[in-house]
C-alpha cells in the first residue's frame, strides 16, 4: 500500500464532504489555466463553486435555475476554447439535461465538465427527489463521456485538476456529506485508472465514491473472519480499467461491487458487463436495487439500504461460498 500513500485507517480520519475537494480543485485549475471557466445553476455554495467565483468573477456565469441552459452554455463556452465546469445537483444535471449533454457535448465533441453534486442517498433529509441514483448509468452510456466518482475530497481535488487537462466531456459525481479522507496529498490519481487499496486473494471488492471507505472497513472485519479481501477502488467508471480489475478477479475468483447508486447501469452494471464477457465469476452487487431513497439522516439511510461495511462483509461471505 505504501506506493499509494493512503491514510492510516487505524488513526482517526479527517472527514470532509467530497464536494469541498472539487471547490479547491476548481480554484487551483483556474489559477493554472486562464481558460478554465465555471457556470452554475443557482447552487454556487452547495456545489463549492463559490471559491472559484470569488477569485474569478469575470470567468463565472450564473445561469439561474436552468440546467438545460447550463449544459448548452457550457458547450458554447467549450466551442470557443474554454474549459467549462458546469455544476448543479446531480438530480438536475445530468438528471434533467441528458439530451443536451448527449447532443451538444458528447456527439458534438465539446469538452464540457459536468459536475453533479449531492449524489446518493447520503443527501439525507431532502429525500428521494434530490438523492440522485441514476446519474452513473445515464452518463456511462454516452459515447465520448468520461465518468469519474472520487472516493474522498482529496481525490476529488486531484480529479478536478485532471479533468481540466482532459479533452473529452467529463462527468464528476460528488457527495454532500462529510466522508472520511482515506487518501493523502501524495496518493496518485489518473483518469481511467483503478487502484488496489487493499491486497487480498479471497474476494475482490470493487467500489467507487463513498463506498470505498466502507469497503476498507469491511476488509478489516473480513480479515478477522479469516478472509483476505482485495479492495479495488474505481474512481473512473468510464473508461473502466479492465486490466487492473480482471487481474484481481482472476486471482480471487469472486466479486462484490459497492456503490451509492443504482446497480443497474452503475458500477455494478459496468463490472458485470466486463466479467460476463471476459471472466465470469460469482458476483454480488451492493447498491440501490431498482428503488428510490427517502428522507432520513445519512447513516440510517445507508444502513437501511444496505450501503455499508456490514453489508459488504456479508456479501463477501456469500460470494466466496458460491465459489465452491
Amino acid at each position: 500500500m505504501t506506493d499509494l500513500h493512503l491514510a492510516d485507517l487505524s488513526e482517526t480520519l479527517l472527514e470532509e464532504p467530497i464536494r469541498k475537494g472539487f471547490g479547491r480543485g476548481l480554484l487551483a485549475a483556474g489559477k493554472l489555466d486562464v481558460n478554465v471557466v465555471a457556470a452554475c445553476a443557482d447552487l454556487t455554495d452547495s456545489t463549492q463553486m463559490s471559491l472559484f467565483k470569488a477569485e474569478f468573477p469575470e470567468r463565472f456565469v450564473e445561469v439561474g435555475v436552468a440546467e438545460q441552459n447550463l449544459a448548452t452554455v457550457g458547450a458554447g463556452l467549450a466551442a470557443m476554447g474554454k474549459i467549462p465546469f458546469v455544476s448543479s445537483y446531480a438530480a438536475f444535471s445530468p438528471g434533467r439535461n441528458w439530451e443536451q449533454i448527449r447532443t451538444t457535448a458528447c456527439l458534438n465533441e465539446r469538452a464540457v465538465k459536468i459536475v453533479g453534486s449531492h449524489a446518493g442517498v447520503s443527501v439525507g433529509p431532502d429525500g428521494a427527489t434530490h438523492q440522485m441514483l441514476e446519474d452513473i448509468a445515464l452518463m456511462r452510456v454516452l459515447p465520448n463521456m468520461v465518468v469519474i466518482v472520487p472516493g474522498d475530497s482529496l481525490e476529488a481535488e486531484r480529479a478536478t485538476l485532471a479533468m481540466a487537462k482532459d479533452h473529452r466531456p467529463n462527468y464528476l459525481r460528488l457527495a454532500r456529506e462529510a466522508t472520511p479522507v482515506i487518501t493523502t496529498s501524495n496518493t496518485p490519481f489518473e483518469i481511467g485508472k483503478a487502484y488496489v487499496y487493499e491486497k487480498g486473494s479471497d474476494v475482490t471488492i470493487i467500489t467507487t465514491g463513498t463506498m470505498t471507505y466502507q469497503a476498507l472497513r469491511a476488509a478489516e472485519q473480513l480479515y478477522k473472519d479469516g478472509i483476505e479481501a482485495e479492495v479495488v477502488h474505481v474512481p473512473t467508471i468510464k473508461p473502466l480499467d479492465a486490466e487492473t480489475i480482471l487481474k484481481s478477479v482472476r486471482k480471487t475468483g469472486c466479486v462484490v461491487t459497492a456503490e451509492e447508486g443504482q446497480v443497474a447501469g452503475g458500477l455494478g452494471g459496468a463490472i458485470a458487463e466486463l466479467l460476463a464477457e471476459n471472466h465470469p465469476v460469482p458476483m454480488k452487487r451492493i447498491g440501490m436495487l431498482d428503488r428510490f431513497g427517502e428522507s432520513g439522516v445519512p447513516n440510517e439511510l445507508l444502513e437501511y439500504f444496505g450501503l455499508d461495511a456490514k453489508h459488504i462483509r456479508l456479501a463477501a461471505h456469500h460470494t466466496i461460498d458460491k465459489k465452491k
Partner: protein, 284 residues
Amino acid sequence: MKKQPIARLEVIANDIREDIIKMLEHAGSGHSAGPLGLADIFTALYFDVLKHDPKNPDWPERDILLLSNGHCVPVRYATMAHAGYFPKKELLTLRKFGSRLQGHPERTRLPGMETTSGPLGCGLSQACGMALAMRMDKQTKRWVYVVMGDGELNEGNIWEAAMLGGKYRLNNVIGIIDRNNIQIDGPTEDIMPLEDLKGKWESFGWHVLEVNGNDVEAVIDACNMAKTIVEKPVMIIAHTIPGKGVDFMESDFHWHGAPPNHEQAKKALHELRTLGGKIRGEHE
C-alpha cells in the same frame, strides 16, 4: 468574401433552392419547406453578412453561425457548397451512408459546421455561451448568429437562453427566427401559440427587429442594423414563406417534413428555373 450586387444574390438564392430540391429528391427523405423558405436568409448570411473564409473554416476571427433547427440543414449545405466550403457534387450525398452531409448536421464531420444540432432548442444557449467566451477574451469584433425555427420556440431551453442573453446583455448575439408559421403538426398558432412573439422577446430584454425573410436585401440591412445595437442582444423575426419559390409547397405545413418525389421535384425545378413561369427555363 467579396460582396456582390443584390440581383446576383437573388440568383444565388434561387440556385440554392434548386439544389435543395435535387438533394431532397435524391435523399428520399428530409424537410422541404423550411430550407426553401430560408434560402434568402442563408444567401444573405454567407454572401454578405458573415465574416468567414470558406478555405479556412476555423479562422479564429470569423463570425459564428449556428443552425439551431438542424432539420433545415439542406439549405446550409447548399449555401456552403455555393460559397466554396466543399464541391457542389457532394450535395447529392445528403443523408447517404458515409456522407459528411448527415441528415442532421454534425460538426465533427464537416468543416465550417459550427455545431451539431437536430434536437431543438439548443442553439441559442450555445450562442450565448460562445458570446460569453468572446466577451471574456475581449473579442469585440465578432458576432454569433443563430438561426432558429418558430416551432422550435416551444422548447423551454430557448427561454432559459433568452433570460440569460437579456441578463448579460449579450450584444454580440444576433438571433434570427424563421417565422414561417408552420411546424410539423400544423400552423404554429394552433399547435402552441407564439404571439405576441415580438413582445415576448422584448420582455426578455432583447431588441427585436422584424423583416421580410425572403428579401435578401432586407435581411442584410436587418443584420447590419442589429450589429449597431450595443445595449442588448438582438432577435430578428424573419417572416418567411415556407416552401418559398415552389408554388405547391408554399405555406402548406404538410411539406414541413416531407421530400418531393421525382414528379414533384421536376415540377418544382421547372418553377424555380422559370421563376414561376415568368421566364423560359434554360433546360426547356
